[in-house]
Symmetry: C2
Subunit: 348 residues, 2 copies
């Protein structure tokens, strides 16, 4: 039985988990109710509110959906590094923005994980690292399927080895954060097509292909290469249901209309971890620090830039925002999630 | 009539033009005689010997084949820049190798182009830049089809606009030099799948997909995405007919056997122009100059490193060689070109 059948899905499209509010319950429910798999990007969600969000989604759909967490050790998520790079401190000062580091750089993964055991979901998906055999067994015991994320064939194999039910293979084209954890996966970020090919060579696990996919033809291509489903993020960012900042959404649509270059870049400048974003003033101004790779690691830098991003979001200042976007960004449209899904199914 | 039919081909596989001796007449003829399209990488071939090489290929096959040139202005190809970067001069000194700059950094493109008009070939393909309407017309007049190379949808459109017969879309995965010329194509090197999708959106021209393709499944994927054919380079490097250095070939095979990491990188350190190579000591030692992007441009740096590469080749020192390879390098095999083609056709 295919993963699609096991999850009761009717079309092979996963809406990517995008942390930070993009994946509203309305978006997730729209995708799952259409027959796809909606995903909550819950990596930045406090453990105490996670269960409530899950309940909201459950009230809007009886179909399968996923909740995605970012794997982090307790030390990584709780240690506050106050040694801000000089250029960033200067940037705060120049823009008259208060630094205000959070009390911890990231949520407790252990507590978020426990929330998923206490209020089980159809699919638990993971990024930024890998869980262990016992954790997979615990999720299976409460009836959740497990999906891992891989940027490299060795990561795909690792998820297969611990008993995951599927792995999302995310190519260099993908917008937002890269989900792998092995150093090699960033030394040479693999293109999606070659990543599918190489992951297929090392595991029989169902593959979900992610990165730059915007059309039915690309879905068919991913399937021809050996993936069972695709995961799409950028295409959903401009749907009516997506909960992103208006200025960010408008900028993506401007790119599609040719009013702004469709130029993205993998950058560590926002969070310390490589992520693909639309190029803006912040990225070009500090490009040298990106190249030199002397930045604080994730989640430290993420915590350090948080107030900066919050202020930019408030002000609608797209030149200072982290506008995550994949290489297919020029093909986004302003439409509902259902309209997007209908179009993709028709093209396939 | 499809491009495949126009060229009398029976399988949709182009053997990539790889300059520097890899594409022997035997390799080209083996591919074309099998029903694919063999290509001579003639960018570094002196105009006066090009015609002779073409005659040798014609003596070995009556099928279509391509000759590929690198588009360069006369100024770019003839001006000798003697201001070698300090680190490179030091590297020559440390290794007791004589610098010996060639009398010109690259062959005259105008004279190479004239050689193609004087001794016409079935297909003339181009990389590193674009030719003009008159040059396309001149090639058509002598019966040659014209194929351009693009790393970006705008480059694909440019080739369509001047009347090319097809365009090779080369994704970030591809080994060796990137064939585009617009600055944007290197700001954000596009993955193959998204490049095909975006090129397909701006032109109806037949597309030849290149980058990381090693299997029949990947060929089917490229076709599903909208390409008519694929172009493969790395897979042919380890065939018996390929004319590369023994140590280089052995190293590629070691990667396939898991005895060396399958890590490649886009680098400007060998030639001044971005090209994907297996990571070795030379690349890691001078990585900072690559990142800083303060290198002399192509073809100047290429001329400056020529003796270094020649000495390394002579000595079989793979840590100083430019070992061009694509991201699919872990799937190479030691086999004949015909065996490779048979396997691919069977998989498709």
């Amino acid at each position: 039985m295919s993963l699609l059948e096991q999850l009761g899905m009717s079309c092979p499209i996963v809406q990517a988990p995008m942390a930070g509010g993009a994946t509203t319950p309305e978006l997730i429910a729209a995708v799952s109710n259409f027959g796809g798999l909606g995903s909550l990007g819950a990596g930045m969600t406090p453990p105490e509110t996670l269960s409530q969000q899950i309940n909201t989604i459950k009230s809007l759909t009886s179909q399968a959906f996923a909740v995605n967490l970012m794997v982090l050790s307790e030390t990584e998520s709780s240690t506050v590094d106050t040694a801000m790079p000089q250029w960033l401190a200067q940037h705060y000062a120049d823009n008259d923005i208060e630094v205000a580091l959070p009390s911890r750089p990231a949520q407790s993964f252990a507590e978020q994980f426990q929330a998923l055991l206490d209020n089980p979901v159809p699919v638990a998906s993971f990024t930024f690292g890998i869980i262990n055999l016992e954790q997979v067994a615990a999720l299976h015991k409460v009836g959740s399927k497990v999906i891992g994320t891989a940027n490299h064939p060795l990561e795909a194999k690792a998820w297969a080895d611990i008993g995951a039910d599927a792995v999302c293979v995310q190519g260099v084209e993908a917008g937002g954060h890269r989900g792998g954890w092995l150093a090699d996966s960033d030394t040479d970020p693999l293109g999606l097509l070659t990543l599918i090919t190489q992951a297929r060579a090392v595991t029989k696990l169902p593959l979900i292909a992610a990165g730059g996919i915007m059309t039915g033809a690309a879905i068919k291509a991913a399937q021809a290469a050996g993936a069972e489903m695709v995961q799409m993020g950028t295409a959903f960012l401009t749907t009516h249901e997506a909960g992103i900042n208006r200025a960010y959404k408008d900028t993506l649509l401007k790119v599609a209309q040719g009013e702004r270059p469709a130029l993205t870049r993998l950058t560590r400048l926002f969070s310390g971890k490589p992520a693909r974003a639309l190029i803006n003033d912040y990225l070009t101004t500090y490009a040298q620090y990106d190249a030199a790779q002397t930045l604080p690691p994730y989640p430290q830098l993420n915590a350090m830039t948080r107030n900066l991003r919050a202020e930019a979001s408030q002000a609608g200042d797209v030149e200072q925002l982290s506008m995550w976007a994949g290489q297919g960004v020029s093909l986004v449209r302003s439409e509902s999630a259902a309209e997007l899904m209908e179009r993709l199914v028709r093209e396939v």
